[in-house]
Symmetry: C2
Subunit: 242 residues, 2 copies
């Protein structure tokens, strides 16, 4: 064990999901190449398609955060962005049912290989829940699809705020009946962890160097930057003595 705090004070681990638990980019590319290109004739570079789609995520959430848009769940932000991407990539001829189904690819993302078994080990001691900007129905469908053994779902739509707004981290602790220091935020993104740390949550970093695809490898932070720094969820479980 390499941790420097009282593990037994932590009762729940909450997890960023896109990139941390599931491989959104690889999953979109895989479904695109297996279905949308051969069956529906969508001829695009699926890596570029996924990057463009995901690239509209931050700006669209900011419209909610600033009040330019009222509360809008992620499914609907994804759809607004998808309509733009389809236009930009000159994709036409998809039916409304097709576009709806493509939009819900975010409900059908594959877990990183270590996630189901690693999460099951973490679940043996902690409450485990996503703390994601995805909506509850997206995260619930994703869990069934990817085999994620969550105890419950704490999602942005419960709080009507997107991370890194404090209402999400503090709202998750409150609805779990816990103090912030009893909750450990887990993410592959240092900004998410820094926001949680400022509010008194514990932090666990998991390394997902290939989230962004080729040429965008990420370097691992120092072990001292967060309460736990792990190479994957199996390593995290081991570092927590599980």
């Amino acid at each position: 064990m390499t941790t420097s705090f009282d593990l037994h004070a932590v009762k729940a681990m909450v997890f960023d999901t896109f990139g941390t638990v599931v491989d959104w980019r690889g999953s979109i590319i895989a479904e695109g190449n297996a279905y949308w290109t051969p069956v529906k004739g969508v001829n695009v570079d699926w890596g570029a398609f996924a990057d463009s789609w995901r690239g509209k995520y931050g700006p669209n959430m900011n419209k909610v955060r600033t009040g330019e848009l009222p509360w809008t769940k992620l499914d609907d932000l994804h759809r607004m962005a998808l309509d733009d991407v389809l236009a930009e990539q000159n994709v036409s001829g998809l039916s409304e049912d097709d576009i709806h189904h493509l939009n819900f690819v975010w409900h059908r993302l594959n877990a990183w290989p270590d996630a189901p078994s690693g999460l099951a080990r973490l679940k043996s001691r902690y409450i485990i829940s996503p703390l994601s900007n995805g909506n509850l129905s997206l995260l619930t469908n994703m869990a069934k699809f990817a085999g994620l053994p969550w105890d419950c779902i704490t999602s942005a739509d419960l709080f009507q705020h997107y991370k890194p707004d404090p209402e999400t981290y503090l709202g998750a602790a409150a609805i779990l009946g816990l103090e912030p220091g009893q909750v450990m935020m887990t993410a592959a993104h240092t900004g998410d962890l820094e926001a949680a740390k400022k509010l008194g949550l514990r932090t666990a970093y998991v390394h997902r160097p290939h989230e962004g695809g080729p040429g965008r490898e990420r370097t691992m932070p120092a072990q001292s930057d967060f309460d736990v720094v792990a190479s994957d969820f199996r390593d995290m479980a081991s570092k927590l003595g599980l």
Copy 2:
């Protein structure tokens, strides 16, 4: 199969919990006799204690429903009622930590024997979630304690309304991204099912004749009263073709 509707239109089953999935009365009696009497010297009739505690549930929720109390989660309503029951039963000498721990016996209720395996079968086709007046943290802790394989937790505190207020049934459908007719309310209590049915949800009755203890056996409704009428969750899974 004895059902008369399109099973495949239903995407989620939501479950009343106290009495339907877990045996609240038997669990309180068991913990009382195993711990609170021999270890803490609480000499009461635990069946009468449980009945008195549970008896204050409806009136306290009504205070929230009428606005006499602001939104108050069930843990806190349980505590208000517990303080009254302890006084009525002349129990003294418990520390604040003890009383808090006793109040959380509602997080440590045992499943009816068929529930974990029956729910796992239902989960193979449907999203399964409690739709309970318990708060999310109570239901999450209970699921870990009792081995309930929920996909997510839809609880009164998400909606700040108690069943049978329509906001609970319709709120659960909405947050699951479903129409009311795609959701099947499941309960051992006909009033809960009737309220859901009026709002367009499908209904499944499960028989728990011994919920109320000796002398309070319940009779089974007619098969035609609800979409499914089952003797337990294994029978329900079989009746749904699972």
